[in-house]
């Protein structure tokens, strides 16, 4: 069964239809890239799927259950976690705390347990910290040790992106939505992150859907590529199929004259 499936998904902002009757699916264990020119509706798609924006029409099925109308935290609980195009961490919380917030829905203790320091609370807290450290260890030595207690705001840009992914991983999602994970990174960091995306699936078993502009990254990691333009799917297939698709080239370059010139 598809981890994520949308049927006839539609969202309009006033006169602008950002997503127009989109049918889309991500199968278990797949890495799907979502590409398309600026304003094609890619990020809006993520926003709608995670419950930040309610769709005008259509269904969003996560593991076969409709999540339309659920609050974002409920969608996360059902197993969809995301990162943001313009990294949005909790800058004044420590690295470890950021990841612990990601585990919020997987832990249970309320205020009374916290005040009484019940055995369950202490055990849960120890386990949560352990798990957070384990999640951060996924990124090698970059976010461990003394980094645990540093506020997120002092991290380098690339580390912030990594931390954001770690925070999403900590919520134990089935599906990870990565919004331009390599934006603003240098070539070496980009290469590293590309490998990381593959590792996320192979070692940790996440299904991944990513928005990406860097075509080398798309070509290297994707099982399947979906191209959006004006909120509709204009092409779908392997990277090579899509890259040679006439409509895709047109959407990116604008006109047939442009295509002829290239």
């Amino acid at each position: 069964m598809a981890v994520l499936e949308t049927k006839n998904l539609t969202k309009a902002f006033g006169g602008l239809t950002a997503i127009d009757g989109l049918d889309f699916h991500v199968g278990e264990g797949e890495i799907v890239s979502l590409i398309g020119p600026n304003g094609a509706g890619k990020t809006t798609f993520f926003n709608v799927v995670t419950g930040m924006i309610e769709p005008d029409a259509g269904d969003i099925l996560v593991d076969g259950h409709n999540v339309v109308g659920l609050r974002p935290n409920q969608v996360l609980e059902r197993g969809v976690a995301r990162t943001f195009q313009n990294v949005r961490l909790f800058p004044n919380m420590t690295v470890l705390e950021n990841v612990l917030v990601g585990q919020h829905t997987r832990t249970r203790t309320g205020p009374i347990g916290a005040i009484l320091r019940t055995r369950r609370f202490r055990r849960e807290e120890v386990e949560a910290v352990e798990k957070a450290k384990d999640t951060l260890a996924f990124f090698g030595t970059r976010l461990v040790g003394y980094r645990f207690d540093q506020p997120a705001s002092v991290l380098s840009y690339a580390n912030r992106r990594r931390l954001e992914i770690a925070r999403a991983m900590a919520s134990e999602p089935k599906l990870l939505l990565l919004d331009e994970p390599t934006a603003g990174m240098n070539p070496q960091e980009t290469r590293e992150l590309t490998e990381l995306v593959a590792k996320l699936r192979d070692e940790r078993g996440f299904t991944i859907c990513l928005i990406e502009h860097d075509m080398r990254v798309v070509g290297r990691v994707s099982d399947r590529v979906v191209v959006l333009d004006y909120g509709t799917k204009i092409a779908e297939g392997t990277y090579h199929e899509v890259a040679n698709d006439e409509r895709v080239v047109e959407a990116y370059l604008g006109t047939k004259a442009g295509k002829a010139a290239s």
């Binding site: 930040m52 935290n73 705390e97 829905t105 849960e124």
Partner: protein, 583 residues
Amino acid sequence: MAARLHRPDPRRVVRLGLVGGLTAVFLSAIGMVEAFAVRSLVDPEVVLGYVTVALVPFVFGYVAAKPPPVREGMEPVRPGGLSVTAGALVGVLTAGVVALFVVITSEVNVRGVLQNVSPPLLDILTFHRGVSQGVAWLFFGGTLIAAGGAAVHLIPARFRRPVVLAVTWVLIFGLLQTLIAQVFRGLKIGDVVNPFLYKGSRGLSIHGAITVWIAVFALVVSMEGQRQAVRRRLDEATPAMRRNYLLFGLAVAILVLAVTPHILGNFLSEVLDLAGIFLLMALGLNIVVGYAGLLDLGYVAFFAVGAYTGAVLTSPLSPTLDPELSFWTSIPFIMMAAALAGIVVGTPVLRMRGDYLAIVTLGFGEIARILFLSDALKPYFGGAQGIIQIPNISIGPVDFVTSQEFFYIIYGLAIVLIYVSWALQHSRVGRAWMAMREDETVAEVMGVNIVQAKLQAFIIGAILASLGGALFAHKIGSIFPHSFNIVVSITVLMVVIVGGMGSIPGVALGAIVLVGAPELLREFSEFKFLLYGALLIFMMLNKPEGLIPSKERAQELHQDEAAQDAWLRREALGETEPEPAGP
């Protein structure tokens, strides 16, 4: 890098001088100088009125001569003779403005408009020497003091802080004579120390002042190195050792609290009781504002709910309901009532953020007061007559009547609530609040149930405030609606902001400074809100993270400076970044 001499910008110096003069005139015209004139700090001549006026040229002279901060890639600047000249110029200008004021008011009667500009004020400003001679003294004194303020920068950096701190402490010793003399009496050394330090009730004696100055100076200088050593040891401590330090600190704190009321006596305990009640409220508001980031301007509503619930349940004279419970059995009901109030206020504002939230809660605060005042609820809450004869709190046969005894109840509860705040902060709930404060949208996307987290913050904040309210009711013995006006909300918010949002030690210090100090300094009461406002503006400009900031806030508000410090450290170590290779 060779340091360049500081050359203050002349236009800035002139501006500072004029602003300084206007500030001094303002302080005089609102009556502060005259009101403070009688209070002697150091016998015979240092009176609070003059100190207030003299502070103006001193501070402005200091500011004028302050070298600009060293920025990345800029030459460092060190103060020199020109800085002092600039300070002196500020003093001349400040004195000039004040002199102009003196001359004008001695010729023209402006009392119709500014009623505080009286002949006695004029007499004070001219040092009782008549206008012409007084003006000359003004110029002489103002210039000297402002140059002195500027010269502070010439003191070697190592001694600058100790010198200034020591002078400040001399003034504090003079200002808080009643408090400090009482402490020495309580420690049973008052008979020896007090006559030496103080001259009757006229403030410090000369040798007393010198002793205090030397003692503080020596203490600060010797502690300067120690502080870093202690910090290093704390950083290196293992968790087990840290736990021991913490337990030791806690034991000391409890011991100090246990003997405090006996040392301080009845009146000062009373002052601390009041500060303690505000501390309880501030701890609650700290959860709502400091942790969860929900600006609540109507926090007094919960305080009132606690006070009224406590009063209704325990007073035999409560109008309709009078179950006459004891304080201890009423606690669960108070907490339930507060939780309900938290839900009532919290639910409608769930979808609101920032300014809107603040305005709506402001409204709720007023609604609460008006409800308790209303005729409709008079059968239950007594309307404007309030509820009287609220019994004392007792444990078994022991009654807690005097403020010294009540101290234990208030601060006992404060310790419990401090623990509760700490426990919540370091838990899943606290992390959810902080995430919500940082970015509500992202917190929700990362799984935080915003509705639940907000309600939890409101309910827990309400419960903490209500316990403070109940103690207030039992302490005073009678409650009236007008005790629960907006000023209480504002004061509690001030305590949290000035102390340091999200910082428990900060909130404790804030309560003592903002609520305790004005009770001790009766002369100030008339100017309390002026001083609050000035303090708030000063804090927002210079130390927005509060007196004792929480780690996160300090980080957030001083990121540039942290980067700057890091750069300066590298610079000092000679590890400049490699120059880019030339073409």
